[in-house]
């Protein structure tokens, strides 16, 4: 008896601590989104308090994008998901947790900001790397995370593919040959984006690192601006960071209004400015101009344009037996 009473007291304590705020939102997010949402959450709390008088507590959960999505599918009660790959949210849509037409629920394909895949080369660009073709040249070493297991690696792979496809006489066949040649120049596949950065910057392995434009600024902060140069290839992927409401959770927790507002606010002037300050390209054209020094014009493609959809691209290239496997296992 005593024990069960103690237990219920404990549970009560938990319940009241959560009830101090009027509403609690849980945002399940990808790994390196920490900085963006660390700044964004207080901004939204202030805005929401001023608008409705309600105080919202926002909890963050960070992890590898697909791991996060699996956790949500397995019952992690996230009100919103903010990811870096469309196919992760697509997975939740398949499970019925997110609306089927989630890309239409918010502007810009439900992606409040974007980034682009760029090259990081050593100071002075000793190998004269300008475009994707230089990455496949003999004697060049490229550093990239595992193309099959990481979003960053997949974006690189698809960017190289799309570039080769758009060359004169380009076809899926020439693209596959080109990507195969390019991957031969990888002495290793890093475990993740940050591991690739460490391998390139700290262990000084390789001639070029392929990563998100936003990551370049992180490298500058960490290793100093004079250590490297950013190269924009002639064509590269515009990477999206899609967001969605987890329908089942907001219905259960009765938090739809707050969750909707939380994501809508990402498109507000303040939300867009926060993205830009975290080196993510804002959708707002005016702001993009204001931060032009950070975001030079670059010719990009979206996955939907070249590959149909994120899901199709994944199925063709990264499922077992897909083009990535074909490059390594000749059968």
């Amino acid at each position: 008896m005593i024990r069960s009473r103690r237990l219920s007291l404990l549970l009560l304590a938990f319940a009241t601590s959560a009830a101090l705020a009027d509403v609690t939102l849980l945002n399940a997010s990808y790994d390196v989104a920490r900085d963006v949402y660390k700044d964004y959450n207080p901004m939204f709390q202030k805005y929401w308090k001023a608008k409705t008088g309600e105080s919202v507590e926002i909890k963050q959960s960070h992890g590898g994008s697909s791991k996060q999505v699996r956790a949500v599918a397995d019952g992690l009660e996230a009100d919103v998901v903010t990811m870096n790959q469309a196919n992760d949210i697509e997975f939740l849509a398949d499970k019925g947790l997110v609306a089927k037409d989630w890309t239409k629920k918010f502007p810009n394909n439900a992606s409040p900001y974007t980034s682009a895949m760029v090259f990081i080369v050593r100071k002075g660009n000793p190998k004269g790397i300008k475009d994707w073709s230089d990455l496949a040249a003999p004697g060049t070493q490229i550093i990239v995370p595992h193309p099959k297991n990481t979003g960053n690696g997949r974006n690189t792979y698809l960017s190289a593919w799309a570039w080769a496809l758009r060359q004169p006489g380009g076809s899926d066949k020439t693209a596959q040959e080109f990507v195969g040649k390019l991957l031969k120049n990888a002495p290793l596949f890093a475990a993740g984006g940050r591991d690739a950065t460490t391998t390139f910057m700290q262990r000084r392995l390789g001639d070029v690192l392929i990563t998100f434009e936003s990551e370049a600024e992180m490298i500058a902060k960490e290793f100093g601006k004079g250590e490297f140069e950013v190269i924009y290839p002639s064509l590269t992927m515009q990477t999206e960071f899609p967001v969605a409401i987890v329908e089942k959770v907001v219905d259960k927790k009765n938090s739809r209004k707050q969750a909707q507002a939380y994501l809508d606010y990402l498109w507000s002037a303040e939300g867009q400015e926060n993205a830009a300050q975290n080196y993510l390209r804002p959708r707002d054209a005016e702001l993009l101009k204001k931060y032009a020094a950070y975001f030079p014009p670059v010719k990009t493609f979206t996955v939907d344009e070249v590959f149909g959809s994120a899901n199709k691209a994944f199925a063709t290239h990264f499922k077992d037996g897909g083009t990535f496997d074909q490059i390594y296992v000749a059968k």
Partner: protein, 291 residues
């Protein structure tokens, strides 16, 4: 009915029940669930998934590297344990505590540290690579990471056994005319061998499942340096839970067979020496030497 034997601790029934429930909850339930999940696939399908070229290469790398790492630790772990028990030296307690550190360190930290150390510009790598020995981002790197992570197993299983072998036994063997090598190979080693095998088996099993430390130093190139746990993650990344389970079940089955074989070997060696007290063995040995 014979009278129940007197036991030091009462409550055999309760303890056995507790043991069964505890083991079921902790081990049988998750493993059973996994096997149940895998049974959604047919046996043929599981074999097909596990026998793809990439999977086969990964199995080869994983088992060979684990075996090698466990063997290295069996040899050097034994030496470390021996020195820690038999020789007094300043800072011994510190060294003794050091042995457990690989357990305490998050494995990802270990992997990143080792990769930094053995990379071409690292403290060790910068000296090894001019000799043509590349460690980081090669299968050799996997062995290094696994050896690091599994070091404590052999040391900690062998140490108490060495403590139990009294030095008088060695003195007796010597006084009966056994050479140093004979004392070691006929007296000490047989007593140690079962514990050494246990340590080896634990290290081997732990190495098979190791992921965090390996991926940072392995290089993860398909067919060359991908380990099975990486392929399992790769399947999960495709939301292919069934495929991941299939690989896990095959891994588990092979590991179980190997561990069973090691246990059988251990049981056999333990029994062989069971009734021979070390002193008598020494005497028998000395007689043999005289004859």
């Amino acid at each position: 009915m014979s009278a129940p034997a007197h036991r030091v601790l009462p409550g055999f029934g309760l303890a056995l029940g507790y043991t069964l429930v505890y083991l079921s909850l902790l081990i049988l339930l998750p493993l059973g669930g996994m096997i149940l999940k895998a049974s959604d696939l047919g046996f043929a399908q599981i074999i097909e998934i596990a026998s793809g070229e990439r999977a086969l290469a990964a199995f080869r790398v994983t088992f060979l590297a684990s075996l090698l790492a466990a063997s290295i630790n069996a040899l050097f772990g034994l030496i470390v344990a021996w020195i820690l028990v038999r020789y007094p030296f300043p800072g011994k307690r510190l060294v003794d505590a050091l042995v457990d550190l690989p357990f305490a360190l998050p494995t990802a930290v270990a992997g990143i540290t080792l990769a930094t150390l053995y990379a071409g510009n690292g403290w060790l790598g910068s000296h090894l690579e001019p000799l043509g020995l590349k460690v980081a981002y090669t299968p050799l790197g996997i062995v290094v990471a696994l050896t690091f992570v599994t070091l404590p197993f052999v040391v900690r299983t062998v140490q108490p056994v060495i403590e139990d072998i009294e030095t008088e036994v060695e003195e007796a063997a010597a006084s009966l005319g056994a050479s140093r090598w004979q004392t070691f190979s006929r007296i000490i080693f047989p007593a140690l061998f079962p514990a050494l095998l246990t340590g080896f088996a634990l290290a081997f099993a732990r190495a098979l499942g190791e992921f965090g430390s390996v991926i940072f130093i392995a290089g993860n190139l398909p067919l060359i340096s991908e380990i099975v746990p990486l392929l399992i993650i790769s399947k999960l990344e495709q939301y292919d839970v069934l495929g991941a389970t299939a690989l896990a079940v095959v891994m588990l089955a092979i590991s179980f067979l190997l561990l069973l074989a090691i246990n059988a070997l251990q049981w056999w060696t333990a029994n062989r020496h069971k009734n021979v007290e070390p002193l008598e063995a020494a005497a028998a040995q000395a007689k043999g030497a005289q004859a």
